[in-house]
């Protein structure tokens, strides 16, 4: 049977992708950030997941205002990097796992989480930057990836509680899949940042630290946090953090924090990263 072994959360700032693509990772501005991901790269190289379910948000790349699915699961065999207005990132094509993805779709829909099934979807920096941070610049990504796009652009996004419970449904789906696969789940976006208006540049280290702490200490309390607290405390784009709760919901109630990294700034954003393993 498939087994969900660990969760990874990370910011997905587009400027990080640009720094990697343009060979700037050793510049003084970027060097501390990339150094902070070295232990994670080592960890995942040892862990060798077969499949990653990657929770992210599309930034007006695959979805415009014509269609706004709250949860959209990529069930295709491959996903091309999106052209976000300056040409697609030169990263490998993302290979999906259609069999597991369709199994998850069927399972969670019957579990009353009515997601949208997507067979053709370009994937933007929200998905490819986390892969670059964890795997560097390989010729091919070393595992299959199932994209799960969450709307956090059009208000209202799903609640934290909905995300957390959706994670639990994903766990049930994965662990009822009849193939021996080592599966991980990534929650991406965040941490505190605001890109728009006169309050742009907001960063809240205390909020971010508490959020990271509570992923192990009090995930249920975290899941109950209302949207307004995210926006007020972590900035209008800090709302992306609800996506981390899908990752958290998919793990055991008790988890082991294996690694954490926090850095300000990457462009306008506080970068947060955490690795959580199931105890078993």
């Amino acid at each position: 049977m498939a087994k969900l072994v660990a969760g990874v959360a990370t910011s997905h700032v587009p400027a990080i992708g640009a720094a990697i693509d343009l060979g700037k990772t050793q510049e003084p501005y970027w060097q501390p950030l990339f150094k902070g991901y070295e232990p994670a790269k080592k960890w995942i190289a040892e862990q060798k997941p077969d499949v990653i379910i990657l929770v992210y948000n599309d930034h007006a790349s695959a979805f415009s205002l014509e269609m706004i699915p709250t949860f959209a699961l990529g069930c295709a065999a491959e996903f091309l990097p999106a052209d976000e207005g300056w040409g697609p990132r030169k990263v490998p094509v993302v290979k999906g796992h259609p069999e597991l993805a369709w199994h998850i779709a069927q399972s969670v829909i019957l579990d009353e989480f009515d997601l949208t099934i997507v067979n053709n979807m370009a994937v933007d920096h929200g998905l490819t930057v986390p892969l670059s941070l964890l795997f560097g610049q390989p010729a091919e990504w070393p595992c299959q990836v199932i994209p799960l796009a969450v709307n956090v652009v059009q208000y209202p996004p799903p609640t934290g509680s909905r995300c957390y419970n959706f994670g639990k449904a994903i766990r049930r789906a994965v662990e009822s899949f009849d193939q021996d696969l080592k599966v991980m789940i990534f929650g991406t976006g965040g941490m505190s940042h605001q890109l728009q208006g006169p309050r742009a540049g907001l960063i809240n280290r205390a909020f971010d630290t508490a959020f990271l702490d509570n992923l192990t200490a009090d995930p249920l309390g975290l899941a109950r946090m209302p949207h307004i607290d995210y926006v007020r405390e972590a900035g209008s784009e800090g709302i992306e953090l609800v996506m981390w709760l899908i990752m958290r919901g998919a793990l055991d109630e008790k988890v082991r924090e294996v690694y954490r990294f926090y850095h300000v700034p990457a462009s306008n954003t506080a970068v947060g990263h955490i690795i959580l393993e199931n105890e078993a």
């Binding site: 207005g85 309050r199 540049g201």
Partner: protein, 135 residues
């Protein structure tokens, strides 16, 4: 549950515009214009004659003027969403950080330094009352 709570508690957060149902409806064509700039041919046509290109989209004149003047806060106020506006400022060769600096009324250097020094604190920036009190 009513869709609109009165007063909307989000309105109390200063310098922040929520991309809610009302703004999404108001900004639909403005945002779809921005989306069109993801295609190289459209970018070229827009750059060749911005005003003429904007006529293809049934936007309000105020929205068109905000685009032509690159009034970013104005576009947000008229229903623009930052991820859509990103297509416009990418066409201009600008980054998120450059446009964020403009929206806050800071110089590029001051804004970049603020970020390097830990960003804008949440303290003093949580409610409109705090902004009124700072004079």
């Amino acid at each position: 549950m009513p869709l609109k709570v009165n007063p909307n508690p989000f309105d109390d957060i200063p310098g922040t515009t929520l991309f809610d149902a009302q703004r999404s409806r108001q900004g639909y064509h403005l945002n779809m214009f921005c989306m069109s700039l993801m295609k190289p041919d459209n970018r070229a046509a827009f750059k060749a004659d911005e005003a003429a290109y904007l006529q293809k989209f049934p936007m309000t004149q105020a929205q068109r003027d905000a685009v032509l003047k690159r009034n970013w806060n104005g576009m947000i106020e008229l229903g623009g969403n930052i991820y859509f506006l990103a297509k416009l400022f990418s066409t201009d060769g600008k980054s998120f950080q450059q446009v964020a600096a403009i929206m806050t009324g800071s110089s590029q250097e001051d804004y970049a330094n603020m970020m390097i020094n830990g960003g804008r604190s949440a303290d003093g920036n949580r409610s409109k009352k705090e902004w009124q009190n700072r004079g």
